[in-house]
């Protein structure tokens, strides 16, 4: 038996096909989900992909968050279904309050596209178990609104509970508080990050490395062993 991992397409999603490809390369069964369809088609986990859903108009992720598919995802995520939000997907997760905080315009006010080094700060989430604690990985980063922010109490709580999952290394690319690149909810099933693991799953493409593969193999193992 293999696991079914859904990838949602919102209007303006861009990295949905890449995420489906990454799921497939990891050996899981990719399932395309549509924003208007409440039905998750028996998937075991969901990826909210990168892109500019609704053009990032109003705020990144703000309009998508109200789509029919998100109603089901919010409900099931609260019940423990693993959800990964990449970039725009992370923005959707904060807008839906599945993850705390909010995403703001990069402090330098430019779109930034680069190979980004990260440290895996927590390898106990549903999406990071295939990494070593403290492992350094290189995956692409590309966004306009990547500056994670939250009030001090929330940040202290995230830090104290080990819920900061990824931290930027070698320079903070967007002014994100405490170099935070990704976080998880208290249960560890919902993870959001700005950089793009789905662009680092083939040796030839993107950064030329495969450091992003671990996200998809982690979830596969977790689901198959469950």
């Amino acid at each position: 038996m293999t696991a079914r991992v859904g990838v949602v397409t919102f209007p303006g999603s861009l990295d949905d096909r890449d995420a489906l490809r990454a799921v497939k390369l990891a050996g899981a069964e990719p399932v395309a989900l549509w924003h208007r369809d409440k039905d998750l088609h028996q998937v075991d986990a969901v990826v909210l992909p990168g892109g500019f859903s609704y053009g990032d108009y109003l705020r990144a992720g703000a309009i998508s968050r109200f789509s029919p598919v998100m109603e089901t995802i919010i409900e099931q995520a609260k019940g423990g279904m693993p959800v990964l939000g990449i970039c725009n997907g992370f923005q959707v997760l904060t807008e839906s309050h599945l993850l705390p905080g909010a995403m703001l315009r990069n402090n330098h006010l430019h779109f930034v596209c680069k190979d980004q080094k990260l440290r895996v700060e927590n390898n106990t989430t549903a999406w990071t178990s295939d990494y070593a604690q403290g492992q350094e990985i290189m995956i692409p980063l590309k966004n306009m609104d990547g500056r994670f922010t939250a009030d001090r109490r929330t940040i202290d709580e995230l830090e104290a509970e080990g819920r900061v999952v990824f931290r930027y290394l070698d320079g903070n690319p967007n002014g994100s508080i405490d170099d935070i690149a990704g976080i998880t909810n208290a249960a560890g099933n919902v993870v959001g990050l700005m950089p793009h693991p789905e662009h680092a799953v083939e040796p030839l493409i993107g950064t030329g490395g495969t450091d992003g593969t671990g996200f998809f193999t982690s979830i596969l193992k977790r689901l198959v062993n469950a």
Binding site: A62, L104, R105, H108, L109, G175
Partner: protein, 83 residues
């Protein structure tokens, strides 16, 4: 038709690099004496029908749940005469 304006600004404690960029540029352009600049959004809503308490309450709710992200933003709703 009546116009309702919703102003959305980042909360004071949140860093506003857009506002800062403007503030830093102003003296270079020869505009002195501006101590601080914040940049936010302004929404102009053209409302069908009367802008009564009920309508304003609905717009307030739309602002709270949708137009503003209250984790980082504050908002104000006010009625403007239509042109």
């Amino acid at each position: 038709m009546a116009r309702v304006v919703v102003d959305v600004m980042l909360k004071p404690e949140i860093l506003d690099p857009q506002g800062q960029a403007v503030q830093r540029a102003l003296p270079r352009l020869g505009f002195e004496g501006i101590a601080d600049v914040r940049q936010g959004k302004r929404f102009e809503l053209e409302v069908e029908g009367p802008v009564d308490e009920a309508a304003l309450a609905r717009i307030h709710q739309a602002a709270e749940t949708f137009l503003a992200n209250t984790v980082i933003e504050d908002f104000v709703v006010r009625v403007e005469e239509s042109q």
